[in-house]
Symmetry: C2
Subunit: 329 residues, 2 copies
């Protein structure tokens, strides 16, 4: 299971198996989406398969995730998401009403995100060879001239901003899957980030890196950026917004909220002189109201993420080995 968890085993699979087999310069970009030239247009292109369990959870469904996950991968390249494809794998015997509810959620999420589902495919596999419904979406979007957002562009001095509290989506799915009750219902904050990115880029065109901390959470996202750019990242532990109910649930479950998946949050690396403008732009948007500066890039400890604890100490924030929460997206 660890090979799909977005952690170290996932990275090894890509590095050792897929990258050598596929070759090519674009795959090596390692961004959430590839930015390509096609007929003179700069397009972003991304894909994700959604295997979340259960299919419906507080605050959303696999249909919402399938739109927002791919839309957000495009937005993390600075693209304006435009079109989605949609491929269903249905397990024989799945209730067609369930499929219809997912399709409706997917359609509604697409309209909210301002994208159009333009092409699709459906396959059916025998009972026992699927898990109800898997959904793949791929997306294309348009990248404005001059925008160059990718992990490799992180620079020492960059200010690290997160757009809001982390860990909510993962805990929402986990709680309903495991039948856990934490006193309050935790609802997924799954959301499309295209508009938030548009507003951010209007204020600060020279954003260096954007990343949505999905599988592997904030910890994996920061580690991937540190490794790709060869910079260190220092995080002020107390600055990272973690809602009390997420912190409580994580304490009960023995999880670290920094490793819990999000879908509807972003991490931005911006030059220090633009940090205030970036923070103000994010906070002026409903999806970034609780944005916070959580740290900075440094030329110390390249490739490594270090947290400064409340007591003044430091600890290394590792890339997760496998995954804490399987099948969360």
């Amino acid at each position: 299971m660890g090979h799909g968890g977005g952690g170290m085993l996932s990275a090894e699979l890509v590095r050792d198996v897929f990258a050598p087999a596929f070759g090519g310069e674009h795959l090596a970009q390692l961004g959430d989406s590839a930015v390509l030239d096609l007929g003179g247009a700069r397009i972003a292109f991304s894909t994700d398969t959604y295997v979340v369990r259960p299919l419906f959870f507080p605050g959303g469904s696999i249909g919402d995730l399938a739109v927002n996950g791919t839309v957000n991968d495009l937005a993390m390249s600075g693209a304006v998401p435009a079109y989605l494809s949609c491929g269903f794998v249905l397990e024989e015997g799945v209730d067609l009403d369930t499929v219809a509810r997912i399709a409706e959620a997917l359609g509604a999420a697409a309209r909210r995100a301002g994208v159009e589902v333009v092409t699709g495919d459906t396959k059916v596999v025998e009972s026992g060879h699927g898990d109800g419904v898997y959904v793949n979406t791929s997306g294309v979007g348009l990248v404005a001239p001059g925008v160059d957002i990718r992990p490799q562009r992180a620079r020492p001095g960059d200010v690290v901003i997160v757009s809001g509290p982390v860990g909510v989506h993962g805990i929402a799915v986990m709680s309903v899957r495991e039948g856990l009750e934490f006193g309050v219902e935790i609802s997924s904050d799954c959301a499309p980030l295209g508009d938030l990115v548009r507003v951010l880029l209007a204020a600060v065109p020279d954003v260096h890196v954007l990343r949505d901390p999905t599988r592997g959470g904030l910890a994996a996202a920061l580690n991937e950026i540190a490794a790709a750019a060869g910079v260190g990242v220092t995080v002020e532990e107390r600055a990272v917004p973690v809602p009390a109910e997420v912190a409580n649930a994580c304490a009960i479950l023995g999880l670290d909220p920094w490793y819990v998946a999000n879908e509807g949050k972003l991490v931005a690396f911006v030059p220090p002189e633009h940090a205030d403008a970036a923070l103000a732009a994010l906070r002026a948007h409903p999806l970034g109201a609780q944005a916070a500066v959580i740290g900075a890039c440094t030329d110390q400890h390249p490739g490594m993420v270090v947290a400064r604890t409340g007591l003044g100490g430091t600890r290394v924030v590792d890339l997760p080995l496998g995954e804490q929460l399987p099948r969360i997206c």
Copy 2:
């Protein structure tokens, strides 16, 4: 199972569930790929999930299919295929050597087809919730100005050409899956059609319709075109190339070769005045050496496909209800 078979149940699922939920003008085009404007470029966009069983078969593998299937969907819009995404769903416990062999086949097929795999995703599901490996690929390509190829453009008088013998791929997969022996090994003719389409369009820019007869075979492809354009299609039964070994295998299995899936063949509808040029262009290419005129479009029996038998009679060629051969692509 029938809902994924490319026949009537598939069409109902799209018409009754997906199309109303997703809305939008492009989905209604019902082509193998959508043709879109993005930043001034005309791009084709398509997706397919591959659940073929077994993963390796004579003449190919799921890796070859995952490239050629999506590349061919793009080519059927007259696009020059350019970039692919690739999403793997791995079943926990699958042999990593198997994954590596598939990835290598996929990479080699991409190089043969002249496309680049630029973005990817891997998910792992628990043992018993998958079937080894499922692969989704989506693709984008560029459509030249003036090219307008889609099912709705079929016109009475159009000549119907098939690029070679039908039924080979489906029977190749079926024979190894069921452990059948037909005296000779039947090897899949799975191939990328981008170059064949390029050559065809260079000779005859005004091709009306292209379709690769995959799930549901030749019969489904012709029915879909007849329904989309509101024209009748008449097929000369004896003109349809069916290799003797495919005919024999079908006779043993009780299948009709016109309903067996292909991957590496195309059907073209061309204006009658360009039929000779189209046939010559196809035959001059290795992948179209056995191209044949198999029929024509008519204003008689709109929406219906009629075969003229060798004895001078006629029979209706129905859209298949479900599928003859599940999980063939």
